[in-house]
Amino acid sequence: MRKLLIIIPIVFLLSGCLTTPVKRKFPEVPQALLVSCPDLKQIETTDKLSEVIKVVSDNYGMYHECRIAVETWIEWYKTQKDIFDSVK
């Protein structure tokens, strides 16, 4: 009985740690940004310059879309980091 009376308070006294109950979720990335940039289009065998220009201008368009995606990723990261860091 006496041993028990000594052991129980000691157990309580030694259990001095505090858990961290606040959990944070990593923000979800917009689905539109989770698509890889496609490969550039290849030109079919032809001697027409107009066909070549069509494919080249399509490829330019794809580059611009990909650039926008990268810029958006950078903006997403900066914005989410600012929001994340604001919690202290």
Binding site: L49, S57, T72
Partner: protein, 152 residues
């Protein structure tokens, strides 16, 4: 002290105050009425009462202090939880805004592409009559457009 985190606030206060009160009463009774209790040992075992009372008093004082810290921590946790909830809401709102801007920008690129393709169609005959493209030119352009293989 983490053991306290399993109990709700009201129950915790009630238990700790109870333990402290029992400790104070028990110790006071056993010290002040030492003689009276000694004379009637068959009613209350004096030494056990004193020992239990002191243990309860010490535990009560310890947990009373611990409770104040625990309540402070709980308040901070609640504050942090509110901030986290707000930041998660802000993150979702920011995501919607960023996605909308992205979609709008891509739409502008696609619309521009349509305009350019139309322009090409309009001058197609003129361009093709003035220039013939050699197969070597196409091969070079295709090679340049291929994704270079990078060894991992």
């Amino acid at each position: 002290m983490w053991l306290l985190s399993f109990l709700p606030d009201a129950l915790l206060v009630w238990i700790i105050n109870g333990v402290l009160l029992a400790g104070i009463v028990g110790t006071t009774v056993s010290v002040l009425f030492k003689l009276a209790i000694r004379w009637i040992p068959w009613i209350i075992p004096y030494r056990t009462l004193l020992l239990v009372s002191i243990v309860l008093l010490l535990a009560g004082v310890y947990f009373k202090g611990g409770l104040a810290i625990e309540q402070e921590w709980r308040a901070r946790v609640r504050e942090l939880e509110a901030k986290v909830a707000l930041s998660e809401e802000q993150a979702k709102t920011a995501n919607v805004k960023i996605e909308k801007v992205y979609i709008d920008k891509v739409k502008v690129v696609k619309d521009t592409q349509i305009v350019i393709q139309e322009k090409i169609k309009n001058v197609e005959v003129k361009i093709d009559s003035q220039c013939k493209v050699s197969s070597e030119t196409i091969d070079i352009l295709n090679e340049a457009a291929k994704r270079p293989e990078v060894k991992k």
